[in-house]
Every structure is written in C-alpha cells, then in structure tokens.
C-alpha cells in the first residue's frame, strides 16, 4: 500500500520536494533544502528511503547531501570526493545512483566515485580516468561531465555511464576497465566521413528499460537511439519525432517498450520546445512510432527547455510522469502522459526530477 509519493526536484538553488498521496491529485511543495546550493541531481534510494542530492557550490565546491528523514534535515560530505593533487579539482557532482548497496556519483570533470557508507566517504573508481581515450575527451556545453549513471540492477559489476562529450562507456568488472559503447550513434559535429567515431559522441541521457539489462535508450545531441545488446550497437529511433535533439529520456517502470521524451527544437535555435508548444512524446513500441501528448501543456509562447535529468516516472499504475523546466515549472501526469498539470511553478531552473514512492 502506497503511503506517499515524493517528487525530488534538484534546482540551481537547492532541492525542493513535492509530496502527494497515492491519488496524486494534490501536491504540497517544501524546500528549498541544501542551503540553496546548486543541485544537479537529487534521488531517493528506495531500499533505504534516504534522499541524496549532488551538486557543486561556487564558493564551497562539490558535495553530496543526505537526508534520512525525507528532507527535514540534511548533512553533507565530500570526504574522498577528490582527484589527486595537481589534477584539475572536482567542480561539482552531476549524478547519483544507488546499486547493490553501493552509492555511485558522477562528477565534473568526468569521473566516477563509489561510497559503501551511504555517502559519508567516497572512493575514486579510477579505471575510467585511466582509459586510453581520456586525453582526447572534449567537454560539452555544460563541461566535461559524467551525467548518466546506470548500474545494472541484475549484476553488480556492470555499469554504463554517459559522458559529455566522450560518449557512452561500459564496465563489466565493477569499474576497473571500461570500453566505449557508441557504435551506431552519430557525431554530426565531426568532419564529414568521421561522423561515427569509437568515442566522442555527445550523449545527453542514457536510461535502462525495465526487466532487461540489455535494453538501453539514449537521447543524444545528434539523434535518439535504442540498444538491445547493452550498448554494443545502437539503432536510430528518431523517425516520427519532431527533432533529433533533446536532453531527457524516461523509461516506464514496467514496460520496456514504453519511453517518454521531450524533444527540443535543435541545438542552435534556442533549445526550446518546438514551435513554442510543449509536448511529451511517447512510444509504446520501442521507438518504432511516437505520439505527442499535449493536453494540459502550454501550446503557445512556451520558450523553455528541459534538462537531461529533469524528467522521470514513478512506479505506480498507471505510471506517473514528471518533468521540470528551465523556467521553474514542474509538470505532472498521472495517466502515463495522456494529460498534464503544473504541480509547482516559479521554482529556480530545474536540473533534475526523480521520484520516490514510500510504502506504508
């Protein structure tokens, strides 16, 4: 029995939490938390009920914040969240993911850290930094960031990460060795004839489909893709979408063929929703066909974008879908995207949206 659902919202100025009961009819907003630090990603660990928030403050540097009482009180740590002396210091935490009792953090400049004490202390998994391609990684618009962090729920040793703009990398030995997994994804910004490199693609978001460790979806700077073999090869699924450009992708909690996207109008046209009309696009068949869903979303003068970690689903049935805009509005659907309503407005720029369902 579901007692409550939390929507965890990371923003440029702290974490906010929208809370409702299982009806998802009315929402209460609280925050800002984390001393209004810029937060790139706030998540809930369903195994423990703990909330984690990662970010970086211009004064005080990177940290992971933690709340064990659903947001009422917070602590923070960056113990061990550091590169060696003389290397470029870590600027911010960009992504957090729990997996098999561990907590992972992706940071800027791109690297992966692991904690086995719930974020009190961190250890650098330096295999990624030691990859022979590392010297050739180029930063994307937001910097050289490790944003997508996908531990395999079925295998503790398998992790996929997305780095802008080095591409997707994969380990099957717990982070000691890594290989690029970008075959089939384009790099339109490379010279003609060099558009399918081994690495260097501008991946924007990688998510795993439910019930299959091998199906991944990827929104890229240059296209939308699906892989059915853990990223060894990627297939374009952008036909039927209004644009090949966007940031977030959100998987359905139970159906591996359902995915939610929020395409933007391209990388050089303001990165707004196309035609200033907001729509979430849904596939029910693994990306073969797409349907735009607009009911309740603004259909004129909508000049906002949605960032890479700012869309998510919940695990209720029917699934809820949520996204947060660059203009600080949090939209929610309780019918798998068919209809929408704003559940919070006038927030700071929203960086991330995640959900946590609390059972009685």
């Amino acid at each position: 029995m579901v007692a409550k659902i939390l929507v965890l919202v990371g923003t440029k100025k702290g974490v906010f939490i929208a809370e409702s009961d299982m009806s998802r009819q009315t929402w209460n907003l609280r925050g800002p938390y984390c001393e209004t630090w810029p937060i790139n990603h706030a998540i809930g660990d369903p195994a423990s009920g703990t909330i984690y928030a990662g970010g970086g403050n211009e004064w005080f540097g990177p940290a992971v914040w933690r709340s064990t009482d659903l947001g009422k009180t917070w602590t923070h740590s960056s113990e061990g969240l550091t590169y060696r002396e003389g290397e470029e210091p870590i600027k911010a935490v960009w992504s957090i993911a729990p997996g098999h009792g561990q907590l992972y953090a992706g940071v800027q400049p791109a690297g992966l850290f692991c904690s086995d004490d719930h974020g009190d202390t961190w250890t650098h998994l330096d295999g990624l930094q030691n990859h022979p391609t590392r010297k050739d990684w180029m930063p994307g618009g937001a910097g050289l960031i490790l944003h997508s962090l996908v531990p395999d729920p079925a295998d503790v040793n398998r992790i996929w990460v997305g780095i802008s703009s080095a591409g997707v990398f994969y380990t099957e030995d717990g982070g000691e060795t890594w290989e690029p997994r970008n075959r089939g994804t384009r790099a339109d910004f490379m010279p003609e004839g060099q558009n399918y490199p081994e690495f260097g693609q501008c991946v924007h978001c990688v998510v795993m489909a439910p019930d299959s460790s091998d199906r991944l979806y990827q929104q890229n700077h240059c296209g939308m893709y699906r892989s059915d073999n853990g990223g060894q090869t990627w297939e374009s699924i952008e036909d039927g979408l209004p644009s090949s450009f966007g940031f977030p992708a959100a998987a359905h909690p139970r159906d591996p063929n359902t995915l939610f996207l929020l395409p933007l109008n391209g990388d050089s046209k303001g990165r707004f929703v196309p035609d200033a009309k907001a729509a979430v696009w849904r596939t029910r068949d693994g990306g073969s066909t797409w349907k735009d869903m607009r009911e309740g979303l603004p259909q004129e003068n909508a000049y906002f974008g949605v960032l890479r970690q700012a869309m998510s689903t919940d695990r209720l049935d029917p699934a809820g879908v949520y996204f947060g805009t660059s203009g600080g509005t949090l939209f929610a659907s309780r019918d798998e995207g068919d209809s929408w309503e704003p559940i919070a407005e006038h927030l700071p720029t929203i960086s991330s949206v995640e959900t946590m369902v609390i059972d009685e």
């Binding site: 001393e35 004064w59 923070h76 113990e79 969240l81 590169y83 210091p89 870590i90």
Partner: protein, 105 residues
Amino acid sequence: MDDQAPGQGHNSGRHASNEIVVRLPGVLVDLFPGAPRRLEMNAATVQDMVNELNRRWPGMRDRICDSSPAIRKHMNVFIDGERVKLGAPIPAGSEVFVLTAISGG
C-alpha cells in the same frame, strides 16, 4: 603541530604557540552546526589553520580548499588586509578573515 610553530610567540610566556583569531563567514558556519563566527586557535600558517578547522569540524577543509591544493577560487583568506595563499605564515596575534568572494547568479 601547533606547538612546532617557529620561535616563541611574542606573548608566549607558557610554551611555544602562535595564537590567532579566526573569523568565518556565516554561509560557511551554516554548513557546520555549532561552528562559531569567531574563534581562537594556535596556527602558524594558513594550512595549519585550515587543518585545525577541519579537526574541529570535519569536512570544513574541503569547503575552503580544493585538491590542487589551494584555497578555492571564490574563497578568500585575508591577514592584515592582504589576501594570502594556503602556505602563507600567520604572525602571532593576527586576526585572520575567511571570506566568500562575489560569486553566483
């Protein structure tokens, strides 16, 4: 470590010491419940001062310094009106100001 400060402090009648006063910014102490805005300690260098702050409030070093190691880009430490680096000596009796620089948006 503090007792290893070079020389005898000018007001030292008991043992080798380098007593200083440290002033911390409000937004920093807000991150460490119980930390005061003004405190006294023995420290011969800015590095010693940061280490002692970190001993009293674990994690405070990471908020003031990065891993270069250096004082963070948007943090400032002033002694007698001068902005100093991590290795700077602190004259006994000094008042050391840790300040946040103009930053953000």
